[in-house]
């Protein structure tokens, strides 16, 4: 499964993922996952579990395949032409790539928050209500109002916007927009939230607010976050996965990764050395 030619580029060998890639009570399990864009392989034999009600951070330098891997988990890669995935990805022990799986329903269970806040060109209220309506989660106007309010409260945005619910979502600040996108995601009541560099466009205060929110949300949801901030990974996550040139080099408890990583490549990356 592992592409030998590719591996010879390393000074240091990647035999298989070191650390503790597998855990009991996994929400997601990926086994032997390869991802190609056309001829080009972007992920090599990824084997990793994502724990229930936990935050897992995915770190690694630009282009190492973090976003690609994350997009496998809610089949966002299906929308990219030329993108091929093989291997086994299971959510609650069910193959998410099996024929009868509806990707739209999957994405309701596995929500995603992007790097750049991307509110719909609609009101704050409609941004949150949209998905819930689409999935028929509210049967009356009152129920929908309640759902919108609850989601905004959970996202820590309600106080700031309760008097301007009908203003456009785009009128909010970047940090507020990101929390709006989180509110929109949790309104559908997903089981997993994928976040791809959710705070990279935000100031430290807005970042701290989102991080608090993530920790709070992880009591109910499973969260996978891609981040370029090592401190962020260290602060919010229980487990950390280090990606290098398409390989999952190491997965371990975050405490271990940042104090005593097993793999030299992980050590090099997190200490800022040439890898």
């Amino acid at each position: 499964m592992i592409n030998i030619e590719k591996r010879e580029e390393f000074d240091i060998e990647i035999d298989k993922t070191v650390g503790k890639p597998f855990i009991n009570d996994a929400k997601f399990s990926t086994r032997n996952v390869d991802v190609f864009y056309g001829e080009k392989q972007a992920i090599f034999d990824a084997n990793i579990d994502i724990g229930k009600n936990q935050i897992i951070a995915m770190i690694g330098s630009s282009g190492c395949g973090k976003s690609t891997f994350l997009r496998c988990l809610n089949r966002m890669n299906d929308t990219i032409q030329d993108c091929h995935i093989s291997g086994d990805i299971r959510l609650d022990d069910e193959d998410i790539y099996q024929k009868q799986q509806d990707p739209v329903l999957l994405r309701a269970r596995v929500g995603m928050v992007f790097q750049k806040p991307n509110p719909f060109p609609k009101s704050i209220y409609d941004n949150v209500a949209y998905g819930a309506k689409l999935h028929g989660l509210a049967s009356s106007k009152i129920e929908l109002d309640e759902l919108v309010e609850k989601s905004l409260i959970r996202a820590g945005l309600f106080k700031e916007v309760k008097d301007s619910l009908h203003k456009p979502g785009t009128s909010l600040s970047g940090g507020q927009q990101q929390r709006l996108c989180i509110a929109r995601t949790i309104a559908i009541d997903p089981e997993v939230i994928l976040m791809d560099e959710p705070t990279s466009a935000l100031d430290p205060i807005a970042t701290a607010v989102i991080e608090e929110l993530m920790i709070d949300l992880s009591k109910k949801y499973t969260i996978a976050i891609v981040t370029h901030s090592m401190q962020q990974a260290a602060r919010v996550s229980q487990r950390t996965a280090y990606f290098h040139l398409g390989y999952v080099v190491e997965v371990n408890d975050t405490n271990i990764v940042f104090t005593n990583p097993e793999h030299q490549l992980t050590e090099n990356y997190i200490t800022g050395r040439f890898g």
Binding site: A234, F258, T259, N260, P261, T271, G272
Partner: protein
């Protein structure tokens, strides 16, 4: 330990500079301990005075290193091996500083002893303890400088020998006190010196434990070194 260089050359230099300051501090401490032992055993009041009055140098360099470590943490947020290095350094210099204090004490007690002019002639009994202590300290500093885990682990054994030697010396001194009650005050000072030497052995052992932590990432403080 690491062969790779940081992407930031400045960061490399900062770490190297702190490391070399620690080695310099180690050299100063070793020198103080050696002199204090010579002063004690040879009852050299000049040398004892010099030791007692030089401890400020060690304190000064400790403060400098602390400062550099604080800046490193604030500026670089060291992780993994770098983080362990900074933590180990902060701990090592605390023990080095304490060793300096013990040497200073020996210097002061020796000054007292030389002025008491009691003919107790127990100093030769201390020379074996002194030798062992200076050896363990030197080896510990050496293990730290070379990040040598195996040497560090071996040194733990030596500390046990020091404890035994201290017990032996104490027994002799106590016997002596019982036999010559006139000299009790002098003998107490001698015991305090022996005690200071034994403490230097303990601090040296701590340094070895930090070396193991630093290299292996394992905390061996409260378990037996294997």
């Amino acid at each position: 330990m690491e062969t790779q260089q940081h992407i930031s050359r400045q960061y490399n230099q900062e770490l190297e500079s702190v490391k070399s300051k620690v080695l310099k501090m180690g050299g100063l401490v070793e020198d103080q301990v050696e002199k204090s032992i010579s002063a004690l055993i040879e009852q050299n009041s000049e040398l004892a005075k010099e030791v007692a009055e030089s401890d400020y140098k060690i304190n000064k360099i400790e403060v400098e290193i602390d400062e550099s470590c604080a800046q490193l943490i604030a500026k670089r947020q060291p992780a993994a091996g770098d983080l362990r290095l900074v933590i180990a350094i902060i701990k090592v210099i605390t023990d080095l500083e304490r060793i300096g204090d013990e040497a200073e004490k020996i210097g002061r007690y020796t000054q007292k002893l030389t002025s008491m002019k009691d003919d107790v002639n127990m100093y030769a009994e201390l020379s074996r303890l002194g030798d062992k202590v200076i050896t363990i300290l030197r080896d510990a500093l050496d293990a730290f400088a070379r990040m040598d885990v195996e040497q560090a682990a071996r040194i733990a054994e030596t500390d046990r020998q020091i404890d035994e030697e201290f017990d032996r010396v104490s027994r002799i001194l106590v016997t002596h006190m019982m036999e010559n009650s006139r000299n009790i005050k002098t003998m107490l000072h001698v015991i305090w010196c022996a005690r200071a030497l034994e403490r230097i052995g303990d601090h040296s052992q701590n340094i070895c434990e930090y070396v193991v932590y630093l290299v292996k990432g394992k905390d061996v403080r409260h378990i037996e070194l294997e």
